[in-house]
Symmetry: C2
Subunit: 249 residues, 2 copies
DNA sequence: TCAAGATTTGACGGTCCGTCAATCAACCCC
DNA sequence: GGGGTTGATTGACGGACCGTCAAATCTTGA
């Protein structure tokens, strides 16, 4: 029954359309407050009831909106993990991937910040998908950390587990992005310090964790150039002139 | 006119009462969603209109609620900065103070996360006070960083400014607290790793920044014991059996 | 062409924020 | 004590928003 298939595709297309629109509302002025089921319905040829056919609640819409940047993150992390080099170079590629996701999907931070309140009322299927992707994301990173330990570049055990290393890198990046994006307290302090800072500080943290080769023993500037040109050539271009326009320098 | 003074004190007392109640609602289940002007009015002998005599908006109430943990933070940072020892020991005392504030005022994180949406409609006087305290807070930390540079313990310049060091420490701590508190993605990874982790990772980050004396050259376990017993003896006790009950270990 | 089934609609109930005219209390002066 | 002025207090109300659901509309298959 091809007609049924057509219809299903039409519905999937509509969902894409809705998500794109919702994303624009979320990244626009007003942030989380700017996205409203009411306004989203008005901005489309469909009514509110139809919206709720796709997303059981606003939280569910946000979850659906979150899946795409999460999937991109997983894909980029996978690619980063394939970088040809030492484990520490690969984890740096992961940090570069963080920056790409942040630049291309600024709404992701808004959702993560706003989801804190919600958490309920998300379609179980979607919630499961999110959990699955998230597990993949941490899995890729943890794999690199364990590779480093296996290669003798990093000494785990005692107070420092692979999870701790991953959490440290993730928390530093998250805190920086939050401080960078939110019009909060460190606004004037962060101003001028572009996202380059995140990569630099992550690299220094790796030194502090004793992850070899240390900064003084390796030319990581060259590593980063290779990462950008070999792993994320397209994304680097899109970041500089693409949709997620933002100051870089 | 003592009667007028009585009245003013009564009003100030009522504001305290309202703030305490609001704080309880915020830390209770539901978080930001659990605090409602409506419910707050119902929980007191006063009506909604009277609430709005104290706080011009819900954002304003949140701002008022934020001032107390901010002030505590400033006070603790000041005390930490007076610790008798090397600059790196003093910045570690600041990190310990972070942990105290997080333990005693868990609502602070909720507010910071939720304020991201608001930002407007805050009484200018309150906003100014917040800005002033925040400036004091970063000032204390930056002072210690600059002390370290002056003492030759830390090499600034080039890519690394005093602000960058401060931002790095703050971001790492913020990211960890967010991941710890939010029922989010790293829940299961963070589980088991108590807030001790924050101090340990901060210390390692300091190593990565080249802030002497490095971990291998100094007994920071002893430093931390001295910090808890000399700088925050009361707070350490309150954290373990006080209001802000939370798992520590 | 028509009936069964699926989809869409927008009005509606409920919650919450913030306002304001009406009410109430305190205070002051005679 | 009485009456007027000033300020505090109230809760009903308007508006925004989420989520629901019976009615209307469209699709499909015979």
């Amino acid at each position: 029954m091809p007609q049924s298939l057509w219809k299903r595709k039409a519905i999937a297309d509509r969902e894409e359309e809705l998500l794109n629109l919702a994303r624009r509302m979320l990244t626009g002025p007003g942030g989380m407050h700017g996205l409203t089921m009411e306004r989203l319905a008005e901005a489309t040829p469909y009514s509110k009831g139809t919206l709720y056919q796709h997303f059981g609640s606003k939280d569910d819409l946000l979850a659906a909106l979150w899946i795409r940047p999460l999937q991109l993150r997983l894909e980029l992390y996978r690619r980063a993990s394939l970088f040809h080099g030492r484990a520490r170079e690969r984890i740096l590629a992961i940090e570069a991937a963080r920056r790409v996701v942040f630049a291309l999907h600024p709404e992701s931070e808004v959702i993560e910040g706003g989801m804190f309140a919600g958490q309920g009322n998300v379609n179980p299927k979607r919630a499961a998908k999110i959990a699955e992707i998230a597990a993949g994301i941490s899995g890729v990173s943890l794999g690199i950390v364990r590779d480093a330990a296996a290669a003798g570049d990093l000494t785990l055990g005692g107070e420092l587990t692979a999870e701790h290393v991953y959490i440290a890198l993730r928390s530093l990046a998250y805190g920086l992005m939050h401080g960078w994006q939110s019009t909060g307290v460190l606004q004037d302090l962060v101003a001028g310090a572009g996202p380059e800072l995140a990569l630099d500080l992550a690299n220094r943290l790796l030194d502090g964790l004793g992850w070899k080769p240390l900064l003084r023993d390796w030319d990581y500037r060259n590593t980063l150039e290779r990462i950008w040109s070999e792993v994320f050539p397209d994304e680097a271009r899109r970041m500089n002139d693409g949709a997620g326009r933002r100051r870089f320098g």
